[in-house]
């Protein structure tokens, strides 16, 4: 009997003392491994990462304390902070490292489930969309974002389902864009989105 109660108590303590995984964010340790930094660069890199991490935590604490924690508020802090951090990191990097850092931050930016604004702007420019097409293109992208967000109640907490919804709505987006773009523009579009082919592959739900 004593043994049994001891086991129960141990499970209870284990359950209470475990560390919860930190909130989603960009893993700068992973980026560091890819950058091939010199000793001097490494020191600056670590200092900037630590400083921005602390600053983000402080901002999030303040947001929580205000009682107005929302997804929108959280994302605004994260995006602004990561963008500034990227600039600070790029200040001591060579061109290749800058490019790697930019792509990494863009890829893993929290809350960025659709193609980046950078790619969307490039699409408008490269395809030379006229003003009507540009407005329609924006509307189609908005419809994609809203449809995917609206399905959240269905895929919440289920990464596999989230990926399936993303791919389904992306197919619908392609069908809608095919009607707006000329054949050439559509072919160019398909080529350009390959740059961010990782989108929608591993949605977290």
């Amino acid at each position: 009997m004593k043994k049994f109660l001891l086991i129960l108590a141990t499970i209870s303590v284990l359950c209470s003392c475990g560390n919860e995984k930190k909130r989603r964010g960009i893993d700068f340790t992973k980026l560091k491994a890819e950058l091939n930094l010199s000793a001097g660069q490494e020191e600056k890199y670590d200092a900037i990462v630590t400083s921005y991490e602390e600053n983000r935590q402080t901002q999030l604490e303040e947001l929580k304390a205000s009682g107005k924690m929302s997804r929108k508020g959280y994302m605004k802090i994260m995006k602004t902070s990561y963008t500034k951090q990227e600039e600070a990191l790029k200040a001591f990097m060579n061109e290749e490292q800058k490019e790697l850092t930019h792509e990494f931050v863009k890829r893993y930016m929290p809350g960025q489930s659709d193609y980046s604004d950078e790619l969307k702007t490039e699409i408008v420019q490269t395809l030379a969309l006229d003003s009507t097409q540009a407005v329609q293109y924006k509307a189609v992208n908005e419809a994609f974002t809203k449809a995917f967000r609206d399905a959240h109640d269905h895929y919440h907490g289920n990464g596999e389902a989230a990926t399936m919804y993303w791919n389904q709505f992306n197919e619908d987006r392609k069908v809608a864009l095919q009607k707006i773009f000329s054949d050439d523009q559509y072919a160019q579009y398909l080529e350009l989105i390959k740059k961010e082919s990782y989108r929608g592959q591993n949605e977290k739900g």
Partner: protein
């Protein structure tokens, strides 16, 4: 040895096989899930009063100390007052009566940050913002409730334990079911004058019976949040769309394309709306919404945003203690033209359930009275593993 005998006891004379299986499974599953059920119920009960405690901590700004039934300050006036300080109003929340102050959320144009203020409901004077918070404590309770602070593994442990708890509730009801007239009386009352072991037994047996339905409901709505298959099963059983998976992907394709098409239509409409430049009388919009939603309630005015160029007024009924806290919406274009009235009751049952699944799980659907009821029931659930183990230990 006695432990082994207790866990693997033989079927008693006259005990049906069904009741024997229920009894043994109730013991095993109860022991297996006891710690997790206790922790999950306790943390859930602690978390339930988050809003109320936060409001009490900020009592002087949330509540109106000079309560008088004068006229409400009009939204146009609030907008003007805030603009004078370079603050763009994003949301105004009017409480249902003068006991509370009005909450105004804004964006500071000069310093580029979002903030909020409580203002006096009549004069519009800024009272302050709710700065006192014990958010850390409630965040901790929420994490423990959802995953025992163990991330995804914890999610599964909680999910499985609650599934077991559902089985325990059902087997508990089977075991509670009285055989004769004397047991019927015992099953409904707690004999406080009896000795401690009997009181403990009654607390487990009788309180378990009284809370059975509500605990079953809370558990299922909790599982709905944790498991996609439970969500899918519940939504489909209410006539809604199942969660997309490999098996139904082809069948759901056209349905999802229709969903996309409706959003595209809305987005194209929004692009047109964004081009409009018109000055809108918020006072008129508020008056119009009162006529369309003629009941007492909390009214929220959402201003147009970059994503959504429409005005939206949301109202939540606050007429009786047990009235359901469900939202109705009125949409207006950027030029103030009425666009759509979205009544909660007009939605499909599946959509209604999805919209209120969280307040159904927390009790907030019935306001403060619901939260108190859920708190009591959850604390009783907390006591179940304790009284259950005490009953079992005594039998050893």
């Amino acid at each position: 040895m006695r432990l082994k005998q207790s866990l693997f006891r033989k079927r008693r004379k006259k005990e049906s096989l069904f009741k024997y299986i229920m009894s043994v499974s109730h013991l095993w599953l109860g022991l297996l899930s006891s710690v997790v059920v206790f922790i999950v119920c306790f943390s859930g009960a602690m978390y339930s009063f988050k809003t109320q405690i936060s409001e009490l901590l900020n009592y002087e700004v949330v509540f109106n100390s000079q309560e008088t039934d004068a006229n409400w300050i009009q939204p146009d006036q609030i907008k003007t007052n805030f603009l004078e300080e370079n603050r763009q109003v994003t949301t105004i929340i009017y409480p249902s009566d003068f006991s509370r102050n009005i909450l105004v959320a804004y964006h500071d144009v000069e310093e580029d940050y979002d903030g909020h203020f409580y203002i006096h409901p009549t004069s519009g004077e800024i009272i302050g913002s709710s700065s006192r918070s014990i958010g850390h404590f409630f965040d901790l309770m929420k994490s423990i409730h959802k995953n025992l602070l163990l991330g995804k593994v914890g999610n599964h442990i909680v999910g499985v334990s609650i599934l077991i708890f559902v089985v325990l509730l059902v087997s508990g009801l089977v075991l509670w079911f009285p055989k004769n007239k004397k047991q019927w009386k015992q099953g409904f009352t707690i004999k406080w004058s009896a000795k401690l072991p009997r009181i403990i037994y009654d607390l487990h047996n009788t309180l378990g019976f009284y809370t059975f339905l509500l605990l079953l409901f809370i558990s299922i709505t909790g599982l709905y949040v944790s498991y996609a298959w439970v969500k899918s099963a519940v939504v489909v059983s209410l006539g809604g769309q199942p969660v997309l998976n490999e098996a139904n992907a082809e069948a759901m394709k056209s349905e999802l394309s229709n969903v996309f098409a409706s959003f595209l239509e809305e987005s194209i409409d929004n692009q047109e709306e964004k081009k409009k430049e018109a000055s809108v009388s918020l006072n008129q919009l508020l008056e119009d919404s009162k006529q369309r939603l003629p009941y007492k309630g909390i009214t929220t005015i959402h201003f147009p945003t970059e994503d959504n160029p429409n005005y939206q007024i949301t109202k939540i009924k606050q007429e009786s203690i047990f009235s359901a806290v469900v939202p109705d919406h009125v949409k207006y274009g950027k030029d103030g033209q009425f666009k759509k009235l979205i009544l909660f009751t007009d939605q499909s049952i599946a959509d209604q359930f999805m919209e209120v699944s969280l307040p159904l799980h927390t009790g907030e659907i019935l306001g403060l009275s619901g939260i108190i009821l859920y708190f009591i029931v959850t604390m009783i659930a907390c006591s179940m593993p304790v009284t259950g183990i005490l009953i079992w230990v005594r039998k050893l």
